[in-house]
Protein backbone atom coordinates (compact mmCIF):
# COMPACT_ATOMS: atom_id res chain seq x y z
CA UNK A 1 0.00 0.00 0.00
CA UNK A 2 1.24 3.50 -0.79
CA UNK A 3 2.19 5.99 1.90
CA UNK A 4 1.14 9.61 2.26
CA UNK A 5 2.66 12.16 4.60
CA UNK A 6 0.33 15.02 5.51
CA UNK A 7 1.29 18.17 7.42
CA UNK A 8 -1.28 20.16 9.36
CA UNK A 9 -3.30 16.98 9.79
CA UNK A 10 -5.05 17.79 13.06
CA UNK A 11 -7.96 19.64 11.52
CA UNK A 12 -9.70 20.87 8.41
CA UNK A 13 -8.54 19.59 5.04
CA UNK A 14 -5.51 17.79 6.48
CA UNK A 15 -7.62 15.83 8.95
CA UNK A 16 -10.16 14.89 6.32
CA UNK A 17 -7.45 13.84 3.88
CA UNK A 18 -5.90 11.61 6.57
CA UNK A 19 -9.32 10.06 7.12
CA UNK A 20 -9.94 9.39 3.41
CA UNK A 21 -6.49 7.96 2.63
CA UNK A 22 -6.65 5.78 5.75
CA UNK A 23 -10.08 4.51 4.69
CA UNK A 24 -8.56 3.50 1.36
CA UNK A 25 -5.91 1.49 3.17
CA UNK A 26 -2.98 3.84 2.61
CA UNK A 27 -0.28 4.19 5.22
CA UNK A 28 -0.85 7.65 6.60
CA UNK A 29 1.90 9.62 8.34
CA UNK A 30 0.02 12.51 9.89
CA UNK A 31 1.92 15.48 11.25
CA UNK A 32 0.60 18.18 13.54
CA UNK A 33 2.06 20.51 16.13
CA UNK A 34 0.44 19.01 19.22
CA UNK A 35 -0.70 15.39 18.89
CA UNK A 36 -1.85 15.54 22.52
CA UNK A 37 -4.82 17.67 21.55
CA UNK A 38 -5.41 16.09 18.13
CA UNK A 39 -8.13 13.76 19.37
CA UNK A 40 -9.99 13.53 16.06
CA UNK A 41 -6.80 12.60 14.21
CA UNK A 42 -5.84 9.99 16.76
CA UNK A 43 -9.33 8.51 16.56
CA UNK A 44 -8.70 7.47 12.94
CA UNK A 45 -7.51 3.88 12.88
CA UNK A 46 -4.19 3.04 11.27
CA UNK A 47 -2.79 6.58 11.14
CA UNK A 48 0.59 7.21 12.70
CA UNK A 49 0.70 10.65 14.26
CA UNK A 50 3.91 12.68 14.46
CA UNK A 51 4.53 15.89 16.38
CA UNK A 52 5.89 18.50 13.97
CA UNK A 53 6.06 22.27 13.82
CA UNK A 54 6.84 22.66 10.12
CA UNK A 55 8.71 25.92 10.73
CA UNK A 56 11.21 24.13 12.96
CA UNK A 57 13.92 23.21 10.43
CA UNK A 58 15.76 20.91 12.85
CA UNK A 59 12.54 19.12 13.76
CA UNK A 60 11.74 18.49 10.09
CA UNK A 61 15.20 16.95 9.60
CA UNK A 62 14.81 14.81 12.73
CA UNK A 63 11.41 13.56 11.58
CA UNK A 64 12.81 12.69 8.16
CA UNK A 65 15.63 10.70 9.76
CA UNK A 66 13.17 8.86 12.00
CA UNK A 67 11.00 7.68 9.10
CA UNK A 68 12.45 4.88 7.07
CA UNK A 69 9.73 3.97 4.63
CA UNK A 70 9.29 5.49 1.17
CA UNK A 71 6.77 8.35 0.92
CA UNK A 72 4.64 8.17 -2.22
CA UNK A 73 2.77 11.39 -1.68
CA UNK A 74 3.90 14.40 0.34
CA UNK A 75 0.95 16.67 1.05
CA UNK A 76 2.24 20.05 2.20
CA UNK A 77 -1.01 21.11 3.74
CA UNK A 78 -0.06 23.07 6.88
CA UNK A 79 -0.74 26.73 6.28
CA UNK A 80 -1.87 29.92 7.94
CA UNK A 81 -3.76 33.05 7.10
CA UNK A 82 -3.34 36.49 8.64
CA UNK A 83 -6.17 37.39 10.98
CA UNK A 84 -7.43 40.00 10.52
CA UNK A 85 -6.06 40.66 7.03
CA UNK A 86 -4.04 43.87 6.97
CA UNK A 87 -3.07 46.39 4.33
CA UNK A 88 0.34 48.05 4.17
CA UNK A 89 -0.83 50.88 6.41
CA UNK A 90 -1.34 48.71 9.47
CA UNK A 91 0.69 45.66 8.45
CA UNK A 92 2.25 43.47 11.11
CA UNK A 93 5.50 42.62 9.35
CA UNK A 94 6.63 40.10 11.95
CA UNK A 95 3.39 38.22 11.29
CA UNK A 96 3.94 38.51 7.53
CA UNK A 97 7.43 37.09 7.89
CA UNK A 98 6.07 34.24 10.01
CA UNK A 99 3.46 33.59 7.35
CA UNK A 100 6.25 33.08 4.81
CA UNK A 101 7.93 30.64 7.21
CA UNK A 102 4.77 28.54 7.44
CA UNK A 103 3.33 28.88 3.93
CA UNK A 104 6.43 29.07 1.72
CA UNK A 105 9.66 28.04 3.43
CA UNK A 106 8.22 25.08 5.36
CA UNK A 107 6.81 23.26 2.31
CA UNK A 108 10.18 23.67 0.60
CA UNK A 109 12.00 22.36 3.65
CA UNK A 110 9.68 19.34 3.79
CA UNK A 111 10.57 18.51 0.19
CA UNK A 112 14.30 18.92 0.86
CA UNK A 113 14.09 16.69 3.92
CA UNK A 114 11.90 14.00 2.34
CA UNK A 115 13.42 13.97 -1.15
CA UNK A 116 14.99 10.54 -0.65
CA UNK A 117 11.75 9.10 0.73
CA UNK A 118 9.99 10.38 -2.38
CA UNK A 119 12.65 9.06 -4.76
CA UNK A 120 12.40 5.59 -3.24
CA UNK A 121 8.61 5.51 -3.66
CA UNK A 122 6.51 4.45 -6.63
CA UNK A 123 4.45 7.59 -7.11
CA UNK A 124 6.82 10.45 -6.17
CA UNK A 125 4.13 13.12 -5.87
CA UNK A 126 4.29 16.40 -3.93
CA UNK A 127 1.22 18.55 -3.62
CA UNK A 128 1.70 22.01 -2.24
CA UNK A 129 -1.62 23.18 -0.92
CA UNK A 130 -1.75 26.73 -2.22
CA UNK A 131 -4.74 28.94 -2.89
CA UNK A 132 -6.40 30.68 -5.78
CA UNK A 133 -5.58 33.78 -3.75
CA UNK A 134 -1.98 33.14 -4.74
CA UNK A 135 -2.88 33.72 -8.37
CA UNK A 136 -1.35 37.06 -9.38
CA UNK A 137 -3.60 37.04 -12.44
CA UNK A 138 -6.55 37.49 -10.08
CA UNK A 139 -6.72 41.27 -9.73
CA UNK A 140 -9.03 41.60 -6.73
CA UNK A 141 -7.65 43.58 -3.80
CA UNK A 142 -6.70 42.86 -0.21
CA UNK A 143 -5.00 40.05 1.72
CA UNK A 144 -1.58 41.04 0.38
CA UNK A 145 0.37 39.09 3.01
CA UNK A 146 -1.39 35.76 2.57
CA UNK A 147 -1.50 36.13 -1.20
CA UNK A 148 2.21 36.92 -1.45
CA UNK A 149 3.16 33.79 0.52
CA UNK A 150 1.06 31.64 -1.80
CA UNK A 151 2.44 33.32 -4.95
CA UNK A 152 5.92 32.60 -3.57
CA UNK A 153 4.89 29.00 -2.88
CA UNK A 154 3.66 28.71 -6.46
CA UNK A 155 7.05 29.92 -7.67
CA UNK A 156 8.69 27.29 -5.49
CA UNK A 157 6.43 24.65 -7.08
CA UNK A 158 7.40 25.77 -10.57
CA UNK A 159 11.14 25.94 -9.91
CA UNK A 160 11.18 22.58 -8.11
CA UNK A 161 9.34 21.03 -11.04
CA UNK A 162 12.25 22.00 -13.27
CA UNK A 163 14.90 20.91 -10.76
CA UNK A 164 13.36 17.55 -9.83
CA UNK A 165 11.84 16.41 -13.13
CA UNK A 166 14.96 14.36 -13.85
CA UNK A 167 14.27 12.34 -10.69
CA UNK A 168 10.71 11.59 -11.78
CA UNK A 169 9.28 13.63 -8.90
CA UNK A 170 6.02 15.41 -9.72
CA UNK A 171 5.34 18.66 -7.86
CA UNK A 172 2.22 20.74 -8.24
CA UNK A 173 0.28 23.46 -6.42
CA UNK A 174 -3.34 22.87 -5.63
CA UNK A 175 -6.17 25.16 -4.57
CA UNK A 176 -8.33 23.17 -2.15
CA UNK A 177 -11.40 25.27 -2.83
CA UNK A 178 -13.10 27.60 -0.39
CA UNK A 179 -13.68 25.10 2.36
CA UNK A 180 -15.72 25.16 5.56
CA UNK A 181 -12.76 24.94 7.95
CA UNK A 182 -11.40 27.16 10.73
CA UNK A 183 -9.59 29.07 7.97
CA UNK A 184 -12.38 29.15 5.39
CA UNK A 185 -15.15 29.96 7.85
CA UNK A 186 -18.69 28.56 8.15
CA UNK A 187 -20.10 30.18 5.01
CA UNK A 188 -17.50 28.67 2.64
CA UNK A 189 -18.63 26.92 -0.53
CA UNK A 190 -17.65 23.28 0.01
CA UNK A 191 -17.12 20.77 2.81
CA UNK A 192 -13.73 19.34 3.82
CA UNK A 193 -15.01 15.98 2.52
CA UNK A 194 -15.59 17.40 -0.97
CA UNK A 195 -12.25 19.20 -1.03
CA UNK A 196 -10.21 16.23 0.20
CA UNK A 197 -11.98 13.82 -2.17
CA UNK A 198 -11.41 16.16 -5.10
CA UNK A 199 -7.72 16.61 -4.35
CA UNK A 200 -7.37 12.86 -3.88
CA UNK A 201 -8.68 12.35 -7.41
CA UNK A 202 -6.20 14.90 -8.74
CA UNK A 203 -3.40 12.96 -7.02
CA UNK A 204 -4.67 9.66 -8.45
CA UNK A 205 -4.61 10.99 -11.99
CA UNK A 206 -1.29 12.87 -11.61
CA UNK A 207 1.44 12.13 -14.14
CA UNK A 208 4.47 13.80 -15.65
CA UNK A 209 2.15 16.35 -17.28
CA UNK A 210 1.05 17.53 -13.83
CA UNK A 211 4.57 18.59 -12.91
CA UNK A 212 4.89 22.31 -12.18
CA UNK A 213 1.19 23.01 -12.62
CA UNK A 214 -1.45 24.80 -10.54
CA UNK A 215 -4.77 22.99 -10.20
CA UNK A 216 -7.91 23.48 -8.20
CA UNK A 217 -9.54 20.66 -6.23
CA UNK A 218 -11.51 19.65 -9.30
CA UNK A 219 -8.37 19.30 -11.40
CA UNK A 220 -8.93 22.45 -13.45
CA UNK A 221 -5.89 24.61 -14.19
CA UNK A 222 -5.54 27.98 -12.44
CA UNK A 223 -3.56 30.84 -13.99
CA UNK A 224 -0.44 31.93 -12.12
Amino acid sequence: MPTILITGASRGIGLESARQYAADGWTVLACCRTPDTASELKAIGGVSVHALDVTDIGAVDRLARSIDQPVDVLMNNAGQNMRPPRGLGDMNYAAWSNLFAVNTLAPFKMIEAFQDHLRRSDRKIVLNVSSVMGSITDTSGGHVAYRSTKAALNMVTKVLAGDLAGDGIIVFSIHPGWVRTDMGGPSAAISPEQSAAGMKKVVESAGAGSNGRFFDWKGDTIAW
Binding site: I57, G87, L88, G89, M91, Y93, W96, S97, F100, A101, T104, L105, F108, K109, E112, Q115, G134, S135, I136, T137, T139, S140, G141, G142, H143, V144, R147, S148, T149, A151, A152, L153, N154, M155, V156, K158, V159, L160, A161, G162, D163, L164, G212, A223, W224
Partner: protein, 236 residues
Protein backbone atom coordinates in the same frame (compact mmCIF):
# COMPACT_ATOMS: atom_id res chain seq x y z
CA UNK B 1 11.43 69.23 -13.86
CA UNK B 2 10.10 65.86 -12.76
CA UNK B 3 11.65 64.10 -9.81
CA UNK B 4 12.68 60.51 -9.23
CA UNK B 5 13.66 58.57 -6.15
CA UNK B 6 15.90 55.56 -6.81
CA UNK B 7 16.87 52.99 -4.17
CA UNK B 8 20.04 50.91 -4.46
CA UNK B 9 21.53 53.83 -6.42
CA UNK B 10 25.22 53.25 -5.73
CA UNK B 11 25.85 50.61 -8.40
CA UNK B 12 24.45 48.58 -11.25
CA UNK B 13 21.05 49.52 -12.58
CA UNK B 14 20.38 52.02 -9.79
CA UNK B 15 23.52 53.96 -10.62
CA UNK B 16 22.57 53.96 -14.30
CA UNK B 17 19.10 55.30 -13.52
CA UNK B 18 20.70 58.14 -11.58
CA UNK B 19 23.19 58.85 -14.38
CA UNK B 20 20.50 59.04 -17.05
CA UNK B 21 17.87 60.98 -15.13
CA UNK B 22 20.55 63.40 -13.88
CA UNK B 23 21.76 63.93 -17.44
CA UNK B 24 18.18 64.71 -18.47
CA UNK B 25 17.94 67.38 -15.80
CA UNK B 26 15.58 65.60 -13.44
CA UNK B 27 15.52 66.19 -9.70
CA UNK B 28 17.07 62.93 -8.50
CA UNK B 29 16.95 61.48 -5.00
CA UNK B 30 19.59 58.78 -4.97
CA UNK B 31 19.22 56.38 -2.07
CA UNK B 32 21.86 53.90 -0.97
CA UNK B 33 23.05 52.37 2.28
CA UNK B 34 26.34 54.24 2.63
CA UNK B 35 26.53 57.47 0.58
CA UNK B 36 29.97 58.13 2.11
CA UNK B 37 31.51 55.32 0.09
CA UNK B 38 29.37 55.71 -3.07
CA UNK B 39 32.08 57.36 -5.13
CA UNK B 40 30.58 56.86 -8.59
CA UNK B 41 27.27 58.22 -7.37
CA UNK B 42 28.89 61.22 -5.71
CA UNK B 43 30.75 62.00 -8.93
CA UNK B 44 27.47 62.12 -10.86
CA UNK B 45 25.78 64.27 -8.23
CA UNK B 46 28.70 66.72 -8.23
CA UNK B 47 27.88 67.67 -11.84
CA UNK B 48 24.22 68.52 -11.24
CA UNK B 49 24.22 71.80 -9.33
CA UNK B 50 22.52 70.08 -6.44
CA UNK B 51 19.67 68.57 -8.48
CA UNK B 52 20.89 65.08 -7.60
CA UNK B 53 21.19 64.42 -3.89
CA UNK B 54 22.37 61.37 -1.97
CA UNK B 55 20.34 59.86 0.85
CA UNK B 56 21.27 57.11 3.26
CA UNK B 57 18.62 54.42 3.09
CA UNK B 58 18.70 50.78 4.07
CA UNK B 59 15.40 49.54 2.68
CA UNK B 60 15.38 46.62 5.11
CA UNK B 61 15.18 49.06 8.06
CA UNK B 62 11.56 50.16 8.25
CA UNK B 63 12.04 52.85 10.88
CA UNK B 64 14.94 54.39 8.96
CA UNK B 65 12.86 54.45 5.76
CA UNK B 66 10.08 56.27 7.58
CA UNK B 67 12.50 58.76 9.13
CA UNK B 68 14.00 59.56 5.72
CA UNK B 69 10.54 60.15 4.23
CA UNK B 70 9.86 62.75 6.92
CA UNK B 71 12.98 64.72 5.96
CA UNK B 72 11.91 65.10 2.32
CA UNK B 73 9.24 67.66 1.58
CA UNK B 74 9.18 67.67 -2.23
CA UNK B 75 6.85 65.81 -4.57
CA UNK B 76 8.24 62.63 -6.13
CA UNK B 77 6.95 61.82 -9.62
CA UNK B 78 8.55 58.44 -9.95
CA UNK B 79 9.69 56.02 -7.27
CA UNK B 80 11.98 53.27 -8.51
CA UNK B 81 12.24 50.45 -5.99
CA UNK B 82 15.47 49.07 -7.33
CA UNK B 83 17.42 47.86 -4.28
CA UNK B 84 17.46 44.09 -4.15
CA UNK B 85 19.48 41.01 -3.35
CA UNK B 86 20.09 37.66 -4.96
CA UNK B 87 21.65 34.47 -3.64
CA UNK B 88 24.33 32.72 -5.67
CA UNK B 89 23.43 30.13 -8.31
CA UNK B 90 25.00 27.28 -6.34
CA UNK B 91 22.68 27.72 -3.35
CA UNK B 92 20.14 25.37 -4.90
CA UNK B 93 17.85 22.59 -3.76
CA UNK B 94 19.35 20.80 -0.76
CA UNK B 95 21.57 23.74 0.15
CA UNK B 96 19.03 26.35 1.18
CA UNK B 97 19.82 28.79 3.97
CA UNK B 98 16.44 29.55 5.51
CA UNK B 99 17.62 32.54 7.55
CA UNK B 100 18.97 34.05 4.34
CA UNK B 101 15.62 33.42 2.64
CA UNK B 102 13.88 35.45 5.34
CA UNK B 103 16.47 38.23 5.01
CA UNK B 104 16.08 38.29 1.27
CA UNK B 105 12.30 38.59 1.55
CA UNK B 106 12.84 41.50 3.90
CA UNK B 107 15.02 43.35 1.39
CA UNK B 108 13.25 42.38 -1.83
CA UNK B 109 9.63 42.50 -0.65
CA UNK B 110 9.20 44.32 2.64
CA UNK B 111 11.74 46.96 1.59
CA UNK B 112 9.73 48.05 -1.47
CA UNK B 113 6.56 47.90 0.63
CA UNK B 114 8.06 50.16 3.29
CA UNK B 115 9.54 52.63 0.81
CA UNK B 116 6.32 52.77 -1.24
CA UNK B 117 4.20 53.30 1.84
CA UNK B 118 6.51 55.92 3.34
CA UNK B 119 6.76 57.90 0.10
CA UNK B 120 3.17 57.53 -1.11
CA UNK B 121 2.32 61.05 0.16
CA UNK B 122 5.20 62.54 -1.87
CA UNK B 123 4.13 60.61 -4.95
CA UNK B 124 0.47 61.52 -4.53
CA UNK B 125 1.28 65.22 -4.74
CA UNK B 126 3.39 64.86 -7.92
CA UNK B 127 2.28 65.06 -11.57
CA UNK B 128 3.21 61.58 -12.78
CA UNK B 129 2.47 59.45 -9.72
CA UNK B 130 4.24 56.28 -10.66
CA UNK B 131 5.90 53.48 -8.66
CA UNK B 132 8.12 51.04 -10.54
CA UNK B 133 9.13 47.84 -8.79
CA UNK B 134 12.26 46.43 -10.37
CA UNK B 135 11.40 42.79 -10.37
CA UNK B 136 12.91 40.44 -12.92
CA UNK B 137 12.04 38.01 -15.62
CA UNK B 138 13.13 35.50 -12.99
CA UNK B 139 10.02 36.56 -11.05
CA UNK B 140 7.72 35.24 -13.77
CA UNK B 141 6.26 31.88 -12.68
CA UNK B 142 4.95 31.33 -16.20
CA UNK B 143 8.25 31.95 -17.94
CA UNK B 144 10.25 29.73 -15.62
CA UNK B 145 10.44 26.86 -18.09
CA UNK B 146 12.58 25.19 -20.68
CA UNK B 147 12.49 27.40 -23.75
CA UNK B 148 11.51 30.47 -21.72
CA UNK B 149 13.64 33.57 -21.39
CA UNK B 150 14.88 32.23 -18.08
CA UNK B 151 16.47 28.88 -17.39
CA UNK B 152 14.39 26.67 -15.12
CA UNK B 153 15.55 25.60 -11.68
CA UNK B 154 17.58 27.24 -8.91
CA UNK B 155 17.52 30.71 -7.35
CA UNK B 156 14.57 29.77 -5.14
CA UNK B 157 15.08 32.66 -2.75
CA UNK B 158 15.35 35.33 -5.40
CA UNK B 159 12.62 34.00 -7.66
CA UNK B 160 10.12 33.50 -4.83
CA UNK B 161 10.83 36.99 -3.48
CA UNK B 162 10.18 38.49 -6.91
CA UNK B 163 6.96 36.49 -7.39
CA UNK B 164 5.86 37.81 -4.00
CA UNK B 165 6.88 41.32 -5.09
CA UNK B 166 4.79 40.90 -8.23
CA UNK B 167 1.85 40.04 -5.98
CA UNK B 168 2.57 43.22 -4.01
CA UNK B 169 2.45 45.19 -7.27
CA UNK B 170 -0.97 43.76 -8.02
CA UNK B 171 -2.45 44.46 -4.57
CA UNK B 172 -0.72 47.81 -4.04
CA UNK B 173 -2.01 48.99 -7.41
CA UNK B 174 -5.50 48.23 -6.16
CA UNK B 175 -4.92 50.14 -2.90
CA UNK B 176 -3.30 53.20 -4.51
CA UNK B 177 -5.64 53.65 -7.46
CA UNK B 178 -7.88 56.05 -5.55
CA UNK B 179 -4.86 58.30 -4.92
CA UNK B 180 -4.05 58.31 -8.62
CA UNK B 181 -0.82 56.37 -8.13
CA UNK B 182 0.13 53.71 -10.67
CA UNK B 183 2.26 50.74 -9.63
CA UNK B 184 3.97 48.40 -12.03
CA UNK B 185 6.52 45.61 -12.14
CA UNK B 186 9.50 46.09 -14.47
CA UNK B 187 11.85 43.44 -15.78
CA UNK B 188 15.08 45.13 -16.90
CA UNK B 189 16.34 42.09 -18.81
CA UNK B 190 19.53 40.20 -18.05
CA UNK B 191 22.09 42.95 -17.54
CA UNK B 192 25.83 42.93 -16.85
CA UNK B 193 25.94 44.07 -13.24
CA UNK B 194 27.32 42.57 -10.02
CA UNK B 195 24.03 40.67 -9.84
CA UNK B 196 23.59 39.79 -13.50
CA UNK B 197 27.18 38.61 -13.94
CA UNK B 198 29.67 39.09 -16.78
CA UNK B 199 27.88 36.91 -19.34
CA UNK B 200 24.68 38.95 -19.48
CA UNK B 201 23.85 40.20 -22.92
CA UNK B 202 22.68 43.71 -22.01
CA UNK B 203 24.77 46.56 -20.67
CA UNK B 204 23.23 48.88 -18.05
CA UNK B 205 22.92 51.90 -20.40
CA UNK B 206 20.88 49.93 -22.97
CA UNK B 207 18.65 48.33 -20.37
CA UNK B 208 17.94 51.52 -18.46
CA UNK B 209 17.41 53.59 -21.61
CA UNK B 210 14.77 51.05 -22.61
CA UNK B 211 13.20 50.86 -19.13
CA UNK B 212 12.96 54.66 -18.95
CA UNK B 213 11.28 54.72 -22.34
CA UNK B 214 8.70 52.23 -21.12
CA UNK B 215 8.12 54.13 -17.86
CA UNK B 216 7.81 57.45 -19.67
CA UNK B 217 4.44 56.63 -21.19
CA UNK B 218 2.98 54.47 -18.44
CA UNK B 219 -0.01 55.89 -16.59
CA UNK B 220 -2.75 54.79 -14.23
CA UNK B 221 -4.24 52.86 -17.12
CA UNK B 222 -1.29 50.43 -16.90
CA UNK B 223 -1.37 49.99 -13.15
CA UNK B 224 -0.90 46.53 -11.65
CA UNK B 225 0.87 45.15 -14.71
CA UNK B 226 4.27 43.61 -15.42
CA UNK B 227 6.43 44.92 -18.26
CA UNK B 228 9.65 43.80 -19.84
CA UNK B 229 12.24 46.44 -20.79
CA UNK B 230 11.14 46.00 -24.39
CA UNK B 231 7.69 47.27 -23.46
CA UNK B 232 6.07 43.85 -23.91
CA UNK B 233 3.79 42.72 -21.15
CA UNK B 234 5.32 39.92 -19.11
CA UNK B 235 3.21 36.93 -18.00
CA UNK B 236 2.95 36.45 -14.22
Amino acid sequence: MPSVFVTGANRGLGLEFVRQYSADGWRVFAGCRTPGSADALSAIAAETDGRTTLHAIDVSDRAAVQRLALTIDEPIDLLINNAGQMESWDEGFGRIDYAKWEDLLRTNLFGPAWVSHAFAPHIAKSDRRLIAMMTSGLGSITDNRIGGRNPPGKLYLYRSSKAALNMLVSKLSFDLKARGIAVMAMGPGHVQTDMGGPTAKLMPPESITAVRKVLADRTLEHTGRYFFYTGEEYPW
